[in-house]
Symmetry: C2
């Protein structure tokens, strides 16, 4: 499908770090086109993304619905990516549904149950996922599959979990919590309060091996299982620097959603597991 | 079932390292009893296993079938474990089938297709598996599940594989080869000839972290996946010292087989995946 028209993508929240990284990934990826308009809240202006000047329309000052509908007319097949703020998640979801534009919601927070319920009921095409790092999602799902298939396989093993994030992140990694739940199903007896949170530069650069240039944006996780007699150990690490894994996963989700829209698939609401499952068909 | 009669276990090959480790695990495990007789080939004698004197009957000199049948009468519910030699695998399998004794075949090698075919056709209860390390099997299966569910999820990632074994092991780890196959299905383009074989003491103790006392018996594996732009890496390690993981997994297999025999299960031939799947029921 090399000759096909590129898929037009609007990135709402392009003024933020994640939105900008995603917009940049859209520009770089063959088969996708970043459109020069985006919705924002409280901040109008122009953002340059690798040479594409994107005009951000402030939805507090202008009619977001009108802007979106015009963009949909100008760019048939438009797909919206949302990397805005938790407080905008539900309002933006409603707007996309109202306009009937397919969207990928990468923004976390908001009332997730309400979001999923309303989008599903609407029949609007969407990918909604709290974690867009495709390979991290795959690993997390693999541990869950192992726990479902082989419950108790690691009974008697001791688990230790260490995670390092930028010091501005105060809470425990949600990914680590989800993976700990799987290890507990595998027979470990571990409480999430036992997860070691590394937030100081010395341990990050030294023990964890975080590159200095990524101290302000990284997600390093180490899980270690040790047998009761100490003769066997398993270690799993997933170490992410910067935002490219999330940006690339988001563009994958856009491409996936485009195919579903074109195929008029009867299922309309998806998550990253759905995107991953179709890997062989890409 | 704390008050139940212990399951009697004969360990053929008790004179060898793996047989002896398994016999010792049988002695230590509640609910199991090591019987004081075993079959051996070319070497008769008495082996002391944690205080249990096991008389080894040389099948080249005496009638193995008669010895086995007598043991089955003396110890109702007997289960045989086989850790002998590749050249004995098929003959021993035939003997166990002829006597109708359930068995766990931990010995590798021999004509596997013939073994599996004949045991399956006989309807004799057996667990036959080339790898008894339950947790290693679980990990290997988890990577296979991930590859089946999410083909291509790691496309563009570079894989490196390093494995360390005792210097007497000349060939590449079979487990590493199997796991590499899954990573290839996940989108890596890796040839098993690229697996780095570490067989020298300096790299084993230094880089790989093998404890000195296990230089003569260990299996350390490291798989590392790195994204094209270098910002993301995943690392998986499974490091085994000595034989206890295999010995314990074998006793788990014996317990599993005992339950299948007692339940008169319609399926009679199993592998370690079956043992693992029943984890929740143990």
């Amino acid at each position: 499908m090399v000759d096909a028209t590129p898929t037009p993508v609007m990135v709402c929240g392009v003024g933020g770090k994640m939105g900008r990284a995603t917009a940049s990934a859209v520009v770089r990826r063959d088969g996708f086109e970043l459109i020069p308009t985006a919705l924002g809240k409280g901040r109008a202006g122009v953002v340059d993304v690798d040479g594409v000047a994107v005009t951000v329309i402030d939805v507090d000052a202008e009619d977001g619905e009108a802007v979106l509908k015009k963009a949909m007319e100008t760019y048939p097949g438009l797909i919206v990516v949302d990397y805005t703020l938790p407080e905008s998640v539900n309002a933006n979801g409603e707007l996309y549904v109202k306009c009937g534009v397919p969207f990928v919601m990468g923004t976390t927070g908001g009332d997730r149950d309400a979001l999923l319920r309303e989008v599903k009921a609407s029949g609007n095409y969407a990918v909604i996922a709290p974690q867009m790092g495709k390979q991290v999602v795959a690993f997390q799902a693999a541990m869950k599959l192992m726990a479902e298939q082989f419950p108790g396989a690691f009974a008697g093993y001791t688990l230790t979990v260490t995670e390092s994030h930028q010091s501005s992140k105060k809470d425990t990694s949600g990914t680590a919590k989800a993976i700990v739940a799987s290890f507990n199903d595998l027979g470990c007896d571990f409480d999430v309060s036992q997860i070691e949170l590394v937030r100081d530069v010395e341990n990050q650069t030294g023990r964890m091996g975080v590159p200095e240039e990524h101290l302000l944006g990284h997600a390093f996780h180490t899980y270690r299982l040790t047998s009761a007699d100490g003769t066997v150990s398993f270690e799993f690490q997933h170490n992410v620097c910067g935002r490219s894994i999330y940006a690339e996963g988001t563009v994958d989700a856009v491409g996936f959603l485009k195919r579903k829209v074109d195929a008029k698939d009867s299922k309309t609401l998806y998550d990253m597991i759905d995107v991953l499952k179709e890997g062989a068909m890409n």
